[in-house]
């Protein structure tokens, strides 16, 4: 079949995809360099030269990207686009984790979250199909939505003002290996040993549950 005769020709989508790819490509060097900035030695070095605080700038940039990505995720009509922006958000979140010296969590965020979980999402989006473009927003109960938004705005305002006031004023100094695989393993296999094993039960439930749910009835099987 001629590609051009399809309903949404690839050529129309390319600008979006390629711009996303370009953004990610730009992000990678930034991620790589920010690791260097975010290490404690760099932070200590930054003290002598306070003009440029690498961790803070990493935080600003990835924080802004996180919010932008989240906004785009929840406003896209097409679930595929939304999923791509969610992946973008998760990458940006990993950048924020780096600025907090949580190197292992940043890696896990990319590998497990942006990698595994989002692949699952994409798989289902593709399976279910996005033939129906849903209208954004107002469908049932404009009133209830306005009320809900108002409640969220109120909650957000209170929460954020509270967090600004109550947040710990000074962050602790952390040693060299903070957030590394080694320190994480220390916690996971000592204090968190039992939860770490128990969570495998949770994953087992998820697997068995998915099998039970997606099983067809015997009648259906006979028909197929």
């Amino acid at each position: 079949m001629d590609l051009l005769s399809q309903k949404t020709p690839l050529s129309q989508r390319r600008p979006f995809i390629s711009s996303l790819m370009a953004t990610i490509a730009l992000l990678v060097p930034w991620l790589a360099t920010s690791v260097a900035w975010a290490t404690p030695q760099a932070a200590a070095a930054a003290k002598t030269a306070p003009a440029f605080n690498g961790a803070l700038w990493t935080f600003y940039i990835f924080g802004a990207l996180t919010i932008a990505g989240a906004l785009l995720t929840i406003t896209r009509r097409n679930p595929v686009t939304a999923a791509l922006w969610l992946v973008f958000t998760l990458f940006a979140t990993a950048g924020v984790y780096l600025s907090l010296h949580a190197t292992f969590m940043a890696a896990i965020q990319v590998l497990v979250y942006a990698g595994a979980i989002m692949v699952l999402f994409m798989f289902v989006v593709m399976m279910v199909g996005n033939t129906e473009r849903q209208e954004f927003g107002i469908m049932r109960g404009l009133f209830s939505k306005v009320v809900a938004l108002g409640a969220i705005a109120l909650l957000g305002w209170r929460l954020i003002s509270l967090l600004m006031r109550q947040a710990p004023a000074k962050a602790a100094m952390v040693s060299d290996g903070y957030g590394s695989v080694h320190s994480m393993g220390g916690v996971l296999f000592r204090e968190y040993l039992f939860p770490f094993e128990a969570i495998s039960v949770l994953l087992l439930v998820a697997i068995v549950g998915a099998v039970v749910i997606s099983r067809r009835s015997t009648e259906e099987k006979e028909e197929v």
Binding site: T73, F104, I117, K145, P168, A171
Partner: protein, 100 residues
């Protein structure tokens, strides 16, 4: 060094944006993605607090939450596929056979 307050506010914004998505969106896959945003807000809060205290427990907790999110997504998407098999829609409002 990043002030903890900034991190917490960013995390709260992420959480609230996810909540807005859950409330406003009708496409269930996007609603589920919004739940993922909320969980990321939680994770960032935990990691931010862990950084402020200079200890690892918050990070270990957020590690658990990532596993939990994976399990949740697997079950939720499985149910979604089961619904879609009997009915071709992914619209929250239309998923309602039962009387209110």
């Amino acid at each position: 060094m990043v002030p903890t307050g900034y991190v917490l506010v960013l995390a709260a914004v992420l959480f609230l944006l996810g909540l807005v998505g859950v409330v406003l969106r009708r496409n269930v896959i996007i609603v589920m993605m919004s739940v993922e945003l909320m969980l990321n807000g939680v994770n960032m809060t935990l990691i931010g607090f862990a950084r402020a205290r200079g200890e690892m427990f918050g990070q270990a907790f957020s590690f658990m939450i990532i596993a939990l999110a994976a399990a949740e997504a697997a079950v939720g998407l499985a149910i979604l596929v089961a619904i879609f098999r009997t009915r071709r829609t992914v619209n929250v409002d239309e998923i309602s056979l039962m009387r209110h």
